[in-house]
Amino acid sequence: MAAGVAGFCGAGCDRVPEKSRVAFTEEETRQILKLSPLPEIPKNPTNAFADNPAAGRLGQRLFFDVRLSADGRFSCATCHDPAHGFSDPKPLSVAMGTTERHSMPLWNVAYQRWFFWNGRADSLWAQAVQPLLHPDEMASSPEHVFAVLSGDAILKAEYEALFGPLPAAARSRTPEADRLLSNFGKAIEAYERRIISTASPFDRSVEALRNGKTGGQSDRISESAQRGLRIFTGRGRCVLCHAGPNFSDGEFHNIGLPGISVDQGRFEGILDVRDDRFNGPGVFSDDRSPATNIKLRFLTMKINHLGEFKTPTLRNVEQTAPYMHDGRFATLRAVLDFYSELPGDPAYGHREETLKPAHFTEQEKDDIEAFLRTLTGAPLDDSLTRPFPAAESKPVGR
């Protein structure tokens, strides 16, 4: 019989503090240790500017710039609002039109392998181009982006310092226009790669556990949260898909949400990402090599991809309601109610075989919710969550 580990009280702890009464087995402890901390941010060689601070600064300007939308009212931040976990409190976003899916939170988006709920982009820069042009989102055009950039001295200077001179014109579907759009995306990616969740109470608890420290109360998550963690990694099997320190396997699953839907999810996303002219092997990529683009090279499409959607991160999940690809659940409790009973038949395709009704008690739901709330980190530095004030809008190099 494996020796128990008293909550997050390390070996040698002879007093079980108030917040640490759950005795985790060695196996449970091993599972818990896999969930923290976040590793280094993966590189993206297809964007040579991904970790360039100047590109990040330009990207931040562009992210919040409503002038880029067709009618001058919407920016990326409209649907990825920093005040709501870089997501949208509305189930479907409303900009130039109404979107078909809920806005994905941007927390830790740099760790993802695929982008959008259906993975129809293989990089963050390729992703960023699509809402810019989509008629229901910003409904912009290369001509419009060109006009905004060339008409703003700061944007123009920062763009040109990074990417070289703006083209003389940017007529849609010309190489110059696509180069402009891809550079736009690369700057946005450089900003979004900085939207990384900060250490949460859960992380501090795991760190104490890993170091075998008894720690103080501040190193502990509540007893209810510990029970929730046990369910999360154990009989709830949540960790099968919400795996690793980012609480996402980065892949796609059909959890069998009921209702009437024509959304094929990943099935359609695979077709789209292969055809995307901004994908990794494409001409606008900064590294088109097979080795870098291995994920697209061996990607396959199967019938079970129908109705699959990407596993979202659970980092800061309490900030990002509503939930699911269509934003159907207003609260975490509603999500747990769904997983508890798995009501109805899947709207599309076939529910993941491993999903069985968990029949959580109300107490267990409370506990899982308590655990999920321990994944909330401190807010990002304010300088990352707002547009640069005009006073800070200096051209690069000054």
């Binding site: 402890t29 091993r30 240790l33 896999k34 901390p37 590793p39 392998r113 890993r210 960790v239 099968l240 898909c241 795996a243 690793g244 320190p245 396997d249 980065g250 892949e251 796609f252 291995i294 994920k295 090279r297 061996f298 990607l299 396959t300 199967k302 079970n304 991809h305 076939h350 993941e352 075989e353 491993t354």
Partner: protein
């Protein structure tokens, strides 16, 4: 061919040996954990298995020494034909999660490296749990398969 939950119970499942085990048991392959995570049992590679029809012994070994959860890897495959076995005309590898009813989200491509050596590129285990690696050999009129169960953590 896709391995389903129905046929994974075939008696031809081969056995991987874990470090420290005296006998045969199902493999438990530790995905590369964060540096600070607890170590887990590691498979002793290479793994060997006879095909279900018995014409080949199949030896597999992932490149890089092991399999990491959610990372692409290649699989080196070596065939040892029994006497009288036909010459293989194709060799492929894939993997499924029998209890999940799905497999990998990639379609590996196998290249012939000469002699009895092959390499399957583009393997990816995106979930922790029980997987079954299948190597399929077409030789003459026969299709031969070898199955290697492995648990990824």
């Amino acid at each position: 061919m896709k391995l389903t939950s129905g046929n994974h119970l075939l008696p031809f499942l081969c056995i991987l040996i874990t470090a420290g085990s005296a006998g045969c048991k199902k493999a438990q392959q530790a995905a590369q954990p964060p540096a600070s995570a607890m170590p887990a049992a590691a498979v002793i590679w290479p793994a060997k298995c006879k095909t279900e029809r018995g014409s080949f012994t199949v030896t597999i070994q992932p490149t890089g020494g092991g399999i990491t959860l959610n990372k692409h890897f290649s699989l080196n495959i070596t065939l040892t034909p029994d006497e009288g076995a036909s010459v293989p005309t194709s060799v492929s590898a894939t993997a499924d999660m029998p209890s999940h009813g799905h497999g990998m989200n990639t379609a590996p491509e196998t290249i012939h490296e000469g002699g009895q050596r092959y390499r399957a590129n583009g393997m990816l285990f995106h979930m922790a749990g029980d997987w079954s690696i299948m190597v399929e050999i077409t030789a003459g009129a026969k299709i031969e398969r070898a199955f290697f169960p492995i648990t990824i953590e």
